[in-house]
């Protein structure tokens, strides 16, 4: 496999392979992120930090309902002030490993995004990821920033003004027209896009209890069930913008990653697969991807990136 080059550069940041730990998965602390980096991830994303501490929702918060997962964790986090410390330690531990750190964050107002960005930037992450799947408290309908091209663009602008770090905007699939959102954030200066966040929301009812199982009643869907939706979103986004895209959603195996890359993704996010296949999934994905590439005579990811967009 020595001829193979699985690396990818996103916004000037080199990933030795395209597999990125998705936000909210394991990313609760420096030690566990170091472990994931050592397990072979190309980059890791920490959990999303917000302006202040949040307890999250009571349990049950995550379930395996058979064809995928559903979660309503409620963005528990100690707030960005504490987060900076956690991220600094994480960056410290990742530096010798050559694995970039992506810092994810959210807020509930446009200004809030700028402020959190400014604070979190102090930790010196390699990339920022703007989680816009949160309700916009200033919007009269309270719909998430992710659902409105204008709000998504405003958030992007505000963050770009606040820091000089490259910024990835993470899009939600639960929108009328994901191309419009992608174009809006690209124009506002986004350096990259990641997609998708969880689908839905969905609901699973326990028929013995006669009530939704999640304490929050509804939750976002992830895992195998959402793969075709995620692939279509990535395909749509890549046909609309020219900034790099991190394709996330239902990727469990190397073949799934190939599908994402053929839809135009530069890198591939790994979330629920950590449940299905364990933290060792990164090494195995690398083997599976390499095997595919060797069998097809591909030397680098660019050789087949976006081929499904053609013709």
């Amino acid at each position: 496999m020595s001829r193979l080059d699985l690396s990818v550069t996103i916004c000037g940041v080199l990933l030795k392979n395209p597999f990125v730990l998705a936000s909210g998965i394991l990313g609760t602390g420096a030690a566990i992120l170091e472990r994931v980096a050592r397990s072979g991830a190309g980059a890791v994303t920490a959990k999303s930090y917000g302006p202040g501490p949040r307890a999250g929702y009571p349990n049950p918060t995550v379930l395996d309902w058979g064809s995928g997962l559903i979660n309503a964790v409620g963005l528990p986090n100690p707030g960005v002030e504490v987060g900076v410390g956690e991220l600094l330690e994480t960056k410290e531990r990742l530096r010798p490993l050559g694995v970039p750190l992506i810092a994810s964050f959210f807020a509930d107002t446009v200004k809030g995004y700028g402020e959190v960005a400014r604070t979190i930037a102090q930790a010196g992450p390699d990339l920022l990821e703007i989680n816009i799947s949160c309700p916009n408290v200033e919007d009269e309908f309270g719909q998430p920033f992710a659902a409105d091209p204008r709000a998504a663009a405003q958030v992007t602008l505000e963050v770009k003004r606040a820091t000089s770090l490259p910024a990835i905007v993470k899009l939600s699939p639960n929108v009328a027209d994901i191309k419009a959102i992608a174009r809006a954030v690209e124009q506002a200066g986004a350096d990259a896009i990641s997609a998708i966040n969880t689908l839905g929301p969905g609901m699973v009812i326990d028929i013995e209890a006669g009530r939704p199982i999640l304490a929050h009643r509804v939750g976002g869907i992830s895992g195998p069930a959402i793969r075709p939706i995620a692939v279509r979103c990535v395909y749509d986004i890549c046909s609309a913008v020219s900034i790099p895209v991190i394709g996330i959603g239902g990727v469990l195996r190397g073949q799934d990653a190939v599908e994402m890359i053929m839809a135009g993704a530069s890198a591939v996010g790994i979330g629920s697969a950590v449940y299905y296949r364990g933290p060792g999934v990164f090494k195995r994905l690398e083997v599976e991807l390499s095997t595919y590439m060797e069998a097809h005579g591909y030397a680098r990811l660019a050789d087949f990136r976006g081929v499904a967009l053609e013709g």
Binding site: I25, T28, P60, V62, L63
Partner: protein, 255 residues
């Protein structure tokens, strides 16, 4: 006719990983704060594994499996959720996911179990399994006072040799269970030590065993959300207590 493999392909039947309901068959008071719930259910499990127990409208929290058949948990009343559990009477229901996590690996011919507080819960299941494999089992039980001692009778009933100690000296030796461990380890040099209890106790156990070169396994507790190795809530020193543990064959450094 079903599509061959629809169960696999459809995925729908895999509600298996969703909570399952069980009825409380018996409620056994153990100490002033601790109660055992015997359910009308049986599962496959290894000693040391746990359940996520759900009470709709209340919460979902982890509890060690005391016995897999009939499925049994033993609960200390320490807060909201455990108080709600304590209000259950026979005929009422609870829900559970599991067995979850990695359990104890049994090894050695004679083993020593060290329990602090309700740490006796998973060790009871371990003692059951050890007895079935014909091992010699010693048990060191510690508690604050006599009325808090958990399972001394149960362990004795399984044919284990039981030592007890209380902090206030109201029963057995006076002192901490780790003092007891120290003297037992020196007297008998067990093949393996298995411990469950508060973090400070586990730390002391690790120190004692490592100093003497005795292999040990500890069952740890951490706040859990998903219970399935995904959210990272339970991470300690890079290990997920819910999936890499709760049993560890050495205390994760820095935990």
């Amino acid at each position: 006719m079903d599509t061959p493999g629809w169960r696999i392909s459809g995925g729908s039947p895999l509600r298996d990983r969703l909570p399952r309901v069980a009825t409380v068959a018996r409620v056994i008071p153990e100490t002033s704060k601790v109660t055992t719930f015997v359910l009308d259910a049986a599962i496959k499990a290894r000693p040391g594994q746990f359940l996520m127990v759900w009470l709709p409208g209340v919460n979902e929290k982890p509890f060690s499996i005391v016995c897999p058949d009939p499925l049994t948990i033993t609960v200390a009343n320490v807060g909201n959720f455990t108080a709600a559990l304590h209000r259950l009477v026979p005929g009422e229901r609870l829900w559970y996911r599991g067995a979850l996590g990695r359990g104890f690996r049994l090894s050695g011919r004679d083993i020593l179990l060290v329990a602090g507080g309700y740490g006796a819960a998973p060790l009871h299941f371990l003692a059951l399994a050890a007895r079935d494999s014909g091992m010699a089992v010693r048990v060191a039980l510690g508690a604050r006072a006599q009325e808090d001692l958990l399972f001394p009778g149960r362990f004795a009933g399984l044919g284990c040799r039981v030592w007890t100690c209380t902090e206030d000296g109201s029963f057995g030796e006076s002192g901490l269970v780790t003092d007891l461990l120290q003297s037992l380890a020196d007297q008998h040099r067990p093949g393996s030590v298995y411990a469950c209890g508060p973090q400070a106790m586990l730390q002391a156990v690790a120190g004692i065993c490592e100093a003497r070169g005795i292999p040990y396994q500890v069952s740890m507790e951490r706040y859990m959300r998903c219970g399935m190795g995904l959210c990272g809530s339970c991470a300690v020193a890079g290990r997920r207590v819910c999936r890499d543990g709760p049993v560890f064959s050495r205390l994760p450094p820095g935990s």
